[in-house]
Amino acid sequence: MSNKFQRSSPQMLGVEASTVSSTASNQPRKRVKRCCRNFVTFMCTQVGVGALIVFYAICGALAFMNIERKYVDETAKVVLSLRYNCSQRLWNITEELNLIDKKLWVNETNAVLQAYQVQIAAIIKNGYVGRSPAQIWSFPAALMFCLSVITMIGYGNMVPRTPWGKGFTVIYATFGIPLYILYFLNMGRVLARSFKFLYRSMHECTQERNYDARLEALESGSLGALTLRKKIIVPSTACLWVIIFYVLTGTIMFANWEKWSFLNSFYFCMTSLCKIGFGDFVPGASLTTAADVDAATQKLREDISADPNEVSDLQRITDQQFKLAINFIYMLLGMGLLAMCRNLMREEVSVKLKEMKEDAKLCVEDTRHRFVGCCGDPRDFYDNDYY
């Protein structure tokens, strides 16, 4: 689209220049206007919208990181103190009962442990994850969060905890969702066009045997060939194959990376592409829950610094960042593919509907003729029955 515009712009410029050549004062304003117009058309093209989405997501990620990292998580300290209390009580019990009576000791300890469990469960229910906000809101994770907001997936594995974060999420979504829908429609159109082109060329390649016939058609008149070309419609099965292939690729990819079973991976891909997004499986989450929680607990454990682990953690995190970026691209591309399929299928359905309508019309005509043949006077019926 932008190319076409650029090609046509010199002519327009010439026209404009001829009309306003005498007034020099208008020239800079015009140029600014033209620049603005160029800029707007570029922004509205596919590249622009894609870049805008990425830019918006990155900005959102930075903003969320800034907002959410300020959240002071008091629960970590609470958990620590709870644990100390529990161990203190256990010590007291041991000192009192002195391991002579095992049954009594077990009963007492059990009671203490049950109380501890209830406390921990209540804290977890309020959203304690065992990680500090700075660890949760790393940049790739925040990027993933922004994407999940504007694509309306909403995994929910990480959520804003501060009131400012919540308010900002609402505002971010109100502007982000229309932007995303714009991207969706645009991407769908472009992909549909290119896929149709691809399909058409493939179709022509496979129909080489009819080449002579088509040559004749070309010689007789290019119009016939053109109509012949226009009639090719991408069947919905082709779209379905593309989608299935895409989902399967995702399934294998995530199964390899995240060590999920194939069913779980497939389930994740489907629920993500359908925008359901339960959040029970999130890429990168397995790494975070396994490695990062360990790191966090390491830090929580009386602040004993564990230097040798730091290096491997860093490596893991960079790995995870790369994977999250791939996941980001996978999601965006998948949404675009879905939009493409939606476009193509809608076209096919409309064509089919038209055909069906024609068929129905023919059928009605046929029955009417039969009616006329059977029971004489037609006007008596058709005013009432059909219309």
Partner: protein, 401 residues
């Protein structure tokens, strides 16, 4: 539809059996695709899904239980390890060392509790009927809170199938109900806000509007004549800052074309203030009315705020949390950090049921309402766009000529 049915009744004997059967079929499909039908369909689909998921999850859970694949109780494990620790370390009686080692054990225990909580506290409680109902609703509306998720393989597969069938159904519901709501909202808007319900007020209003239009037209005509005559005295910015005669003449002619276009549209307004004419306009179709954007936005915001108040009352959330929940749910993001009925899931069963059902109704209604607002807004935006395009065209025409 009713007229057709009455025509039926008048002469049933004349119809052949096949035709009658066909008619019945047509009626049936019309009903199914009509608005009542689709609401019932969505409801029954959701209820059916709830039953299916409940059975599958509980069945699989029982199977797992009988196979003893569920890990032994974490509390007992912890207790055992502490006992072992205590009996081993009893000889040297060092308090600090003992507490450190006990802390390690407790940390492990805490992680176990954390994992268990993530997996879900209790399958029986989670997959109560209302929970399963909300789950299937979140699947087909693509909200996906994720507070309840299927843990068995069959549950996952069925979820995928259920979503593939259910999502188009829900989209159909949305477009259908959105259309109906938009039409009725437009009707209400025309009756209430434009005062068409009271003929006297409406008449006065229309007369006032017409008078204004006529004044505008007269002013434009006057302006036209002036610009056609001189051009230099007109208020056009281009002609005022340019000295050459050719440009001034071109701008004046362009101004003339532009204003003539406007007057032609304005002059369509009939001059006569006869009663029948006004009556006709009052009775006129509601299709031509476009509801302004602000009203749509106001409806959406007020729905979200009312939801915030409602859920705030029910769930003891503050207003920010309530409106955040409503927004996240209605925009089908659905994080699932705030879910109705979560607080009381173990306490009071009846309240949970009611809360879940209320949430479901709120969601179904709200999504239809948002679809309606988008319908109306789209209309308005297209209307505005067309006006802008017309303005641009007029602008370009005056520039090029």
């Amino acid at each position: 539809m009713s007229s057709r049915r009455s025509s039926f009744r008048r002469k049933p004997a004349e119809k052949p059996a096949f035709e009658r059967f066909k008619d019945h079929c047509r009626h049936f499909t019309a009903f199914m695709f009509s608005n009542v039908g689709i609401i019932l369909l969505v409801t029954f689909y959701t209820i059916g899904g709830a039953f299916i998921f409940q059975t599958i999850e509980i069945f699989e859970y029982e199977k797992l239980k009988t196979k003893n694949l569920i890990k032994p109780n974490a509390t007992a494990e912890c207790l055992n390890s502490i006992w072992k620790l205590t009996s081993e370390n009893i000889s040297f009686y060092d308090r600090q060392a003992y507490r450190n080692s006990v802390n390690e054990v407790l940390l492990k225990y805490q992680q176990a509790v954390y994992k268990k909580q993530i997996k879900g506290p209790d399958v029986d409680h989670q997959w109560s009927f209302s929970g399963a109902f909300l789950y299937s609703l979140t699947v087909i509306t693509t909200i996906g809170y994720g507070n309840i998720t299927p843990s068995s393989d069959w549950g996952k597969l069925v979820t995928i199938l259920y979503a593939i069938i259910g999502m188009p159904l829900f989209l159909l519901y949305l477009s259908n109900i959105g259309d109906v709501l938009a039409k009725s909202f437009k009707w209400i808007y025309s009756k209430v806000c434009l005062c068409r319900i009271c003929p006297g007020v409406a008449k006065r209003r229309i007369i006032r509007e017409r008078r204004k239009l006529r004044q505008l037209a007269r002013a434009l005509q006057l302006h036209n004549m002036e610009s056609a005559r001189g051009g230099s005295s007109s208020s056009n910015s281009y002609s005022s800052n340019s000295n050459s005669s050719s440009i001034s003449s071109s701008t004046s002619s362009s101004a003339y074309t532009k204003s003539s276009m406007q007057t032609s549209s304005v002059l369509d307004v009939p001059y006569s203030d006869s009663d029948s004419d006004i009556e006709r306009e009052i009775r006129g179709s509601t299709d031509e009315i476009t509801v302004p954007l602000t009203v749509c936005v106001f409806v959406m915001v007020s729905y979200i705020l009312s939801g915030a108040i409602l859920f705030g009352r029910w769930e003891d959330w503050n207003y920010l949390d309530g409106s955040y929940f409503c927004f996240i749910s209605l925009s089908s993001i659905g994080f699932g950090d705030l879910v109705p009925g979560d607080r009381v899931i173990t306490a009071d069963k009846d309240k949970v049921e009611l809360s879940f059902i209320l949430c479901a109704v709120y969601l179904l209604l709200g999504m239809a309402l948002i679809a309606m607002c988008f319908n109306l807004m789209q209309e308005q935006v297209i209307h505005n766009m067309r006006a802008i395009k017309r303005g641009f065209k007029a602008c370009f025409r005056c520039r090029s000529s």
